[in-house]
């Protein structure tokens, strides 16, 4: 089993609903976004293209952030999810340098949106993340909760929140190793590409562009 995502860039409108849903789901502090949508413009007037590219950890099969970690905090699970074991992280930032997708985010100190934490911030924040590196976890806390009979990527409760919140139905999550999964079918149908393929990192995020 290897979890992965297929993003249909043709459908994305760059609304950042996934950005804010992820931020809220993971109780992230101000300025830290494990995922966001890049608003790209290329060309010269009047021949211009503008596209929206949801970006986050690519959960590479060969993640460069894992071997560079001096403490072993940067880890990869058997199902492909790359994550940080916070109590082992010393916040050295090697992994952030190694990641070509800029998907790692250091949380130096807990910050609040106002002078003092709001009741919701106080309730939801995770003190374990202070002073350590953080990143997209593919919402493993949701995926791992799936009971027998439920399928992450099909049942929204057990699907990464960026996918289940998308208002353009542009993102899909599932098992890349299962030929019958939604993501496998989309890969078969659309032959989506990956970002920075030349680096050979074998990302788990695939992008349908045409």
């Amino acid at each position: 089993m290897r979890w992965g995502m297929v993003v249909d860039v043709r459908k994305c409108v760059g609304c950042q609903t996934c950005t804010i849903a992820c931020h809220e789901e993971n109780a992230l502090p101000p300025g830290i976004f494990w995922r966001h949508v890049v608003d790209v413009e290329v060309g010269e007037y009047p021949d211009v293209r503008r596209a929206f590219l949801p970006m986050g950890c690519q959960h590479c099969a060969e993640p460069p952030c894992v071997p560079v970690c001096p403490t072993g905090a940067s880890q990869q699970r058997a199902d492909g999810i790359v994550f940080v074991q916070y109590d082992m992280c010393i916040g050295c930032g090697y992994c952030a340098v190694a990641c070509p997708y800029r998907a790692r985010h250091m949380i130096h100190d807990q910050e609040w949106y106002f002078m003092a934490p709001t009741p919701s911030e106080k309730k939801a924040h995770d003190p374990e993340r202070h002073g350590v590196m953080s990143k997209c976890t593919f919402c493993k806390h949701r995926v791992d909760k799936a009971p027998a009979g439920a399928t992450p990527g099909v049942d929204p409760e057990y699907t990464p929140v960026c996918v289940s919140s998308c208002i353009a139905n542009a993102m899909h999550f599932g098992d890349l190793d299962d030929p019958t999964s939604n993501v496998s079918r989309l890969r078969e149908e659309h032959q989506p590409g990956v970002l920075l393929e030349e680096l050979g990192l074998k990302p788990s995020l695939f992008y349908i562009t045409e």
């Binding site: 609304c15 950042q16 809220e24 007037y45 211009v48 709001t118 289940s164 353009a168």
Partner: protein
């Protein structure tokens, strides 16, 4: 006791009219922590998902910058420079103070010496306010006397105003949508639906792209919707009508119109065959006064509703006898005259508007215009049918959409007319795949578009126009926006005051035009969910008038630029703190049309962190204090504010009118009544049920999306292409105003034309410099604005979370300029620049783009706050501060387009 454990509370977000969007709030140990979609509502066309704004609701609830208790002003001096000197008071003190002011009005008379109501209310935000006012409208009903809703907060400038009025007139389309689940081809003129279309719009557009639908976006800058379109066509601002007219020209002159148009539809569903006499009015049968058509088989003129006409003449010129009925019942008799079908007049009318002509006007190549015309006609599939729930209907999967500033202000009429007409030409109006109306506001019942279709004059739908006859015209305005006096199309319903020239009170207060009763500052102004000092044009003018308002009570979320001028701040319970049951599904604003209909509950999800009050309770308390409780309760029993009567022949869950009731009690009755009504008496669900389940739905036939079957059933025609009725009421209104020696509305009266010609619309804005003593050539650029999904409506500006998220979207927080143009002005990315119009200047950060026309700069949203916490630190200019409220920019419907001529230049060290 603090509740423990985690629960999900269903509620809705209606922070834009495309809602309500259903959602759950996750509450942990009594604290709201996050928002989630409500996946349980599988009937929702977008999977039960809300958009980015809904995720700000938790921060909106706990925002420490909120007004935390009622506050009273202590500084009698009002002005931007004068701190109000707020002091906290209790709710009892606050409501007593407001009730005392209102009692004074009741005791001394409801109307002032100029004829205007002494009580005025402004609830802004484009139709979202009703979803948050709770039972308060029942208090306004119990008030029982005129109140003024015509003091504008941006309506007309910020809405799609001409489309509202003409759309509802032509096809019960206060808002217009494509039948996106079926449409395959969209020509969009500035319709930024991937930002403004709500989650259902975004979802349906994305699905359409996935199945290969083609969307062409004409827009001066590359908006989000232009980015997702198959093609972006950078059009010169305010020239959309020229391109639409050239498409009309192409259909009617460059193609074989009999082959590409839906001739049967034109003949039987429109006024295309109606004969028009030499004075521009229908030629009518002298005895029955019915408009005549030419029956080709009989070779004779017959009444339009003659049942056995096989072939209507659409072209030609015929010699017939009959009468024309002009303004004020003026009858023009013709023993024998020449008459032509309105379709023939249309063809003649659009003949000069060739693609080459339009290219010069609009900067859109003639080849592009021809290409989209051809594609439009191909996709229209004239002759195709589709079965919908067992009924065979025409299938015309093409739609032309208009965006804000295209479909309002000068040129709005022409664009709306051309767009609706292009649909009618191929039979794509109100049929599967074509353009549809989704909501109505001027006709009744507002909850049922199809039921509102009633026979009117000359075979068309009835429309409740404000009278323009000598006998019934209202010469002396009774609202400060003069809706009954100046705007026949806007009717006289609960929305009409706000849908009129709502800029006029600001413009004329203290400076009325000749022969016009000066709009007075209202003795009491209640304002809520509205910030006209930011959202109206000409902020300085608005503030100069606000100073003169003697008593302002503001329902206040935070301090803002308008309630800075108020005397009383009333912190109403907001989205996650109060009750309201609201209609969901069926056909509603924008692209919100479902295969279900029902009601959803908004409810308190956690204890309010501050001393706020549910607006229903505010309404009850004010009614009690003023001795209006019985009338208030009776209004609630009639369904005012609740959306459903509490007592009908089928059920009775009415309130005891003699005693006050809590918000929960009132909404419990609404829950019961709504479910009884929806289930036809089979099911009754109370507040406790809704608190758990959130929404109650029943099926809504897809056939109800389309007006076509209803029009057929009732034997009615669309009043297109020829606008005889508008021509007549315009002439009558001109006569009435001139009888009063009023001439300052003459330019607006020119809009009432049966077949509107192109006018040089851009020049109207160029001329503004001259009107303000400046040189037009000094303002070579257009400043436009564009919707932000993150920031539209709902007080998001004070949420730092939203700023944090919005910075990922191009245009937040800077002024977008074409990169090459900027280089010519010596402006680099990130430079601090001035944007200056003839009335002022605003500072911002240059953001260089390729996707902006070189003659255009764009400032997203509405910012430039100076009192609203958090927002006051956002360095964004606001077009509104640079656009004058000027009579020359107001069209016949009372609306104005959101754009202004400017120059840009770098700031100098020390500039302020």
């Amino acid at each position: 006791m603090t509740p423990t454990g985690t629960r999900k509370v269903p509620t809705y977000c209606y922070q834009c009219v495309a809602g309500p969007d259903l959602l759950n709030v996750v509450v942990e140990d009594g604290v709201a922590v996050k928002v989630e979609p409500n996946f349980g509502v599988t009937e929702h066309p977008a999977g039960g998902r809300p958009c980015v704004r809904a995720y700000g609701l938790v921060q909106k609830l706990y925002n420490p910058n909120r007004v935390k208790s009622p506050m009273k002003r202590t500084n009698p001096q009002k002005g931007r420079e004068h701190d109000p000197g707020w002091v906290a008071i209790t709710w009892d003190e606050a409501l007593d103070l407001l009730a005392d002011k209102l009692r004074t009005i009741r005791d001394a008379g409801f109307v002032d010496e100029n004829g205007y109501p002494k009580l005025a209310v402004t609830f802004g935000a484009g139709g979202t306010a009703p979803a948050y006012l709770g039972g308060f409208p029942a208090f306004l009903s119990a008030w029982g006397a005129p109140l003024d809703q015509g003091i504008g907060s941006g309506q007309g400038m910020k809405c799609v105003h001409s489309e509202h009025l003409y759309g509802e007139f032509w096809h019960r389309a206060f808002t217009v949508a494509p039948d996106m689940p079926t449409t395959t081809y969209v020509l969009s003129f500035g319709n930024n639906g991937d930002v403004s279309g709500g989650v259902i719009g975004v979802w349906r557009h994305a699905e359409a792209r996935g199945r290969g639908a083609r969307w062409i976006q004409f827009e001066p800058h590359m908006s989000v919707t232009a980015a997702t379109a198959a093609r972006w066509v950078p059009i010169r601002p305010k020239t959309d009508a020229a391109v639409l007219y050239a498409i009309l020209n192409g259909v009617l002159h460059e193609h074989a119109w009999r082959r590409v148009c839906d001739v049967a539809y034109l003949s039987r569903m429109t006024n295309a065959p109606y004969l028009v006499g030499p004075n521009g009015y229908y030629l009518r049968d002298a005895a029955t006064r019915k408009p005549l058509v030419w029956d080709e088989k009989r070779a004779a003129a017959v009444a339009f509703d003659t049942p056995d006409v096989e072939a209507y003449a659409l072209e030609g010129e015929f010699t017939v006898a009959g009468i024309e009925i002009g303004p004020d019942e003026q009858m023009i008799e013709h023993a024998s005259t020449t008459a032509r079908p309105s379709f023939q007049l249309l063809r003649d009318h659009v003949k000069p508007y060739t693609p080459e002509w339009a290219a010069k006007v609009s900067d859109v190549p003639a080849a592009t215009i021809r290409e989209v015309t051809r594609e439009y006609l191909e996709h229209a599939r004239v002759g195709a049918t589709v079965e919908v729930e067992g009924v065979t209907l025409p299938l015309r999967p093409v739609a032309i959409l208009l965006g804000k500033s295209v479909n309002n202000g000068w040129g709005g009429y022409e664009c709306c007319w051309a767009r609706t007409l292009l649909a009618a030409l191929v039979g794509a109006l109100e049929v599967p795949g074509g353009i549809l109306g989704t909501t109505i506001r001027l006709n009744r019942p507002s909850s049922n578009r199809l039921e509102s279709v009633r026979p009117g004059p000359d075979g068309f739908m009835a429309q409740p126009l404000n009278p323009t006859s000598k006998k019934d015209w209202q010469a002396r305005p009774t609202s400060r926006s003069a809706h009954k006096t100046l705007v026949p199309l806007v009717s006289d319903g609960s929305w009409s005051g706000a849908l009129s020239p709502a800029q006029l009170p600001w413009l004329f207060m203290g400076d009325p035009p000749p022969k016009w009763p000066e709009p007075t500052p209202p003795e009491v102004w209640i304002v809520g969910r509205s910030n006209p000092a930011i959202s109206c044009w000409d902020s300085d003018l608005v503030m100069s008038k606000l100073k003169r308002f003697p008593f302002v009570a503001a329902f206040a979320y935070t301090q803002d630029e308008t309630n800075w001028f108020s005397d009383l701040l009333l912190p109403d319970a907001t989205d996650l703190e109060s009750y309201q049951l609201f209609r969901v599904g069926a056909t509603k604003y924008v692209e919100s049309y479902w295969e279900h209909q029902g009601v959803a509950l908004r409810q308190p999800v956690a204890d309010s962190p501050f001393d706020t009050k549910d607006l229903t309770d505010v309404g009850t308390e004010l009614s009690r204090r003023l001795g209006l409780l019985e009338r208030y309760n009776e209004a609630l029993n009639r369904g005012v504010a609740l959306g459903v009567p509490l007592k009908t022949a089928q059920y009775d869950v009415s309130l005891d009118a003699s005693t006050p009731h809590t918000s929960a009690e009132i909404w419990d009755r609404a829950c019961r009544a709504a479910t009884l009504a929806l289930s036809k008496g089979r099911e009754e669900r109370d507040l406790a049920w809704f608190s758990e389940h959130g929404v109650y739905l029943v099926p809504f036939s897809r056939l109800n999306w389309y007006l076509h079957p209803e029009m057929l059933r009732k034997g009615l025609r669309y009043e297109l292409p020829y606008q005889e009725r508008l021509k007549r009421i315009g002439a009558e209104l001109r006569a009435r105003l001139h009888e009063q020696d009023i001439h300052w509305w003459d330019t607006q009266l020119d809009e009432y034309q049966a077949l509107p010609p192109w006018k040089d619309f851009p020049e109207i804005w160029v001329d503004i410099a001259r009107r303000h003593g400046k040189k037009p050539e000094d303002y070579p650029l257009w400043l436009l604005t564009s919707r932000s999904m993150q920031y539209s409506w709902g007080s998001q500006v004070s949420l730092p979370l939203m700023a944090d998220v919005a910075r990922h979207v191009r245009g937040h927080f800077g002024i977008m300029l074409n990169a090459k143009m900027a280089a010519l002005h010596g402006i680099d990315e990130g430079d601090e620049i001035w944007v200056e119009s003839p009335i002022g200047r605003q500072k911002g950060t240059a953001m260089l783009r390729a996707g902006v026309r070189p003659d255009v700069v764009v400032a997203i949203g509405q910012f430039a706050h100076w009192a609203t916490p958090v927002a006051e630190d956002i360095q964004m200019p606001n077009l509104n501060a640079l656009e004058p409220i000027d009579l020359s920019l107001i069209d016949a419907t009372g609306s104005g387009s959101d754009l202004v001529r400017v120059k840009v230049y770098r700031t100098r060290h020390g500039d302020r």
